[in-house]
Symmetry: C2
Subunit: 219 residues, 2 copies
């Protein structure tokens, strides 16, 4: 605010946070590491429904950052790094902390660039079972699958009318295990196909989010 936006006392500002609150106010004091703003009004930005949640297996190298970038750009509301049986990347301690900060930065930048008015929430990484249990209580859970009966995602959407929350479970490079598929079925996940080719993790993630945005929100 001081060095890039060069804000001074008395300047008008708009601020938003991750709780989808937007504040209008004026700069009261510009300190070296801190800027004081007097807030004149706060409004809650009303997100479009359905809320779109992406729970995606963490691929190797920095690909998860690219997944966050694309999902934020397209309009996902929440992103959950997913630990599956075949996920090889398991961060711990300092490495994990650094990564979390990096993920948040990527999300903020992508949100700005794509001109969306809010920033998606990046959750801490969660185990498949825990994430599945939580999501299936609060959302329609859709699972792009490489095996079994699975309608085209756009066809599947026709049978899911006006969901409040829709979540996607995206498997790792080696796919979900048969046990994970069984668990998902037991939790009423909707298996879908993303086409006739085998997609990479990041492609599957972004095709799912794009289809949901275009099908449900942008009518």
């Amino acid at each position: 605010m001081r060095h890039v936006l060069r804000l001074r006392e008395g300047d008008a500002v708009e601020i938003f946070n991750e709780k989808k609150e937007e504040a209008v106010g004026r700069v009261v004091k510009v300190g070296r590491c801190q800027v004081t703003v007097s807030v004149e009004s706060v409004r809650r930005y009303t997100p479009q429904l359905p809320l779109i949640i992406l729970a995606c297996a963490i691929p190797k190298r920095s690909k998860f950052e690219s997944i966050i970038e694309k999902a934020a750009e397209l309009g996902a509301d929440e992103i959950i790094p997913l630990l599956t049986e075949r996920t090889e990347v398991r961060l711990k301690g300092d490495q994990l902390k650094k990564k979390s900060i990096r993920y948040q930065t990527v999300a903020v930048n992508a949100a700005k660039q794509s001109q969306r008015p809010d920033v998606p929430v990046i959750h801490p990484a969660g185990d498949f079972m825990a994430v599945l249990e939580r999501l299936s209580r609060e959302a329609v859970v859709v699972m792009p699958s490489l095996v079994g009966e699975r309608p085209n995602i756009l066809k599947a959407f026709q049978a899911i009318s006006q969901p409040q929350k829709i979540a996607f479970l995206i498997g790792p490079e080696g796919d979900f295990t048969p046990q994970e598929y069984t668990l998902a079925r037991d939790h009423k996940c909707v298996p879908v196909s993303l086409g006739e080719t085998v997609l990479k993790v990041e492609t599957a993630a972004l095709v799912s989010v794009a289809c949901a945005c275009l099908y449900y929100r942008h009518v």
Copy 2:
């Protein structure tokens, strides 16, 4: 064939080329730089309709390779690097030759990885006007647009029934110029929206191809 597949005289092989021909045969001779195969039968692989053509502005750095990779993965049949007024990358001579070979390699690898039975054709880069004229003669041309009246791409597809060829014109980072938009309109391009956020070139390209595959081919 010699070093990786370790083929020997008498081994059975399946070969395919970019003309969508598949041949079955046997290795007759393995030389140092050349393998001779006696072809027993050739069949033409019948592509799914509509043919999907992606004409996409060339972004900076190696992003066009990533566009080729994703488009090939998703099922595009032809890819045209597009030179628009605001395209900064213009390759020439040796650099262009090298790039073309690299593009083809990327397409072949992505096709293999995604388990599709053919490889998309990568055309030489073409100027907006020339590409527009050619495409509008032979395909329904769809143009994701950031300005003007433009229905959601999935809605727009409802009005385009059973096309034989569908082409997408994807603009550069700074968007198409007003002149290019006018030319496109004169050539009966269909303007569409890809959602409410502003997408990067590569994201717009891949959302377009994914939607076309899911909407028309994978019913």
